[in-house]
């Protein structure tokens, strides 16, 4: 499944609580989720951070990417 484009609404949703709802055992994703929850970054900055994470680790996040359409 292809990664949605940077402008796709899923990144904003992930950055604002959606990441915590993903079923994942990826340690980096879990720690990033917790950091974003406590972060003072703007929603757009958080979405950028989530997008960059998924782009970087796309090959290891197939299960998580498959869930993006239901976020």
């Amino acid at each position: 499944m292809a990664l949605p484009s940077k402008s796709a609404p899923c990144w904003q949703k992930l950055a604002n609580g959606g990441l915590k709802k993903l079923r994942t055992t990826n340690l980096g994703a879990q720690m990033l989720s917790q950091r974003l929850e406590m972060s003072k970054l703007t929603p757009a900055q958080k979405a950028d951070e989530v997008y960059d994470f998924f782009v970087k680790w796309e090959r290891g996040l197939a299960n998580e990417i498959a869930q993006l359409s239901s976020i």
């Binding site: 915590k20 994942t24 340690l27 980096g28 720690m31 917790q34 950091r35 406590m38 090959r59 290891g60």
Partner: protein, 342 residues
């Protein structure tokens, strides 16, 4: 005691096969002189004898091997060889430059860091690493160097391979580049889970929290620990990081003070861990749930080694240093950390 014993003719094959085992000190010296990029762990008396080269090191006499946990003398060291990947370079980062570990980490690869126990770098990294902007894009793994607990007054040291000798502060780091198409997977194996009794919160990031919020009620942390009967330190605090279980272990409980081996942070739900009866079985069960393809490096905690009675026992066949803190993006405790490259 078992260790690799290498004849000179073995080195070409060993380099291709990437040693991750205890070796005789002379063999480690030969590997360094052959130009192998290495992470080395052992006693200070052994590490002090190693020549300059492309390696980093840290002190600990405790190890897990495929044959079982053991404590070694200064005639051997544990070597992890990173030959056959991409470029591997050794560095030392001062306490004020620890963020550069991630800033300077390779785009494709990871950083392997060793910091001395109780150093300023240990304290700073523990509190700040999870907030480094590139923490989750350029992963750092590693460990906190320790010492023989039976030797009073011992200290922990790291080495950057430059020939400058034992360093009591800062971080020794291997920046490990991987070929295009390969990537590191950072994983933890944590045999502990929350006991479900109380939810604990802390008001500030601290190695020594005075107070704890227990189910919304603020109270003296030391009193709560004694009330729960967990002051012996076998059971860590388990933090819930969006489902990841991240431990912070008890170091000492005084009349009104509590010292931890890793800081607690505000905004995280903690609980004390449920007891674990049989550590090797618990690790085996956790290991069965993990993929081990491409396993390259691991370390495990001294508290698991001691409380779990791991001397002479195997833990899922992994080999690596037994450490005074583990690094998987940030400092964790009482946890096995593993890096796989796929």
């Amino acid at each position: 005691m078992k260790s690799h014993s290498l004849a000179p003719s073995d080195f070409a094959g060993a380099m291709a096969g990437r040693i991750n085992a205890l070796v005789a000190l002379d063999d480690a010296i030969a590997l360094i002189r052959a130009g192998a990029p290495l992470a080395i762990a052992g006693r200070k008396e052994a590490l002090d004898q190693l020549p300059a080269g492309n390696w980093i090191g840290g002190t600990t006499p405790y190890f897990l091997t495929a044959e079982g946990g053991e404590m070694i003398d200064a005639t051997r060291v544990f070597v992890t060889d990173f030959s056959g990947l991409g470029a591997v370079t050794s560095h030392h980062y001062d306490v004020d430059a620890l963020q550069d570990i991630t800033e300077e980490a390779p785009e494709h690869g990871f950083a392997l860091a060793i910091l001395p126990f109780q150093s300023q770098a240990h304290q700073r990294f523990a509190k700040e690493a999870g907030q480094y902007p590139l923490a989750f894009l350029k992963p750092t793994v590693g460990w906190i160097a320790g010492f023989d607990l039976g030797e009073e007054g011992s200290s922990a040291y790291v080495y950057d391979g430059s020939g400058s000798g034992a360093l009591s502060d800062g971080a020794a780091v291997l920046q490990i580049h991987l070929p295009e198409g390969m990537m590191p997977i950072v994983e933890i194996v944590n045999i502990f889970s929350a006991d479900g009794v109380d939810t604990l919160r802390f008001e500030e990031a601290s190695f020594s929290p005075r107070d704890v919020i227990v189910n919304g009620q603020k109270r003296l942390f030391a009193d709560y620990i004694r009330e729960r009967g967990v002051e012996g330190g076998q059971l860590p605090l388990v933090g819930d990081y969006s489902g990841a279980r991240i431990n912070a272990s008890l170091r000492a409980v005084g009349e009104t003070t509590v010292d931890l081996y890793a800081p607690v942070f505000p905004g995280i739900d903690y609980a004390f861990a449920a007891p674990v009866e049989d550590y090797p079985s618990a690790f085996a069960a956790q290991f069965a749930a993990h993929d081990h393809d491409g396993a390259m490096w691991s370390c495990n905690c001294i508290l698991n080694y001691l409380f779990g009675g791991l001397e002479g026992k195997t833990v899922g066949g992994v080999a690596g240093p037994v450490t005074f803190g583990e690094i998987a993006y940030q400092l964790v405790n009482q946890t096995l950390v593993q890096v796989r490259v796929i």
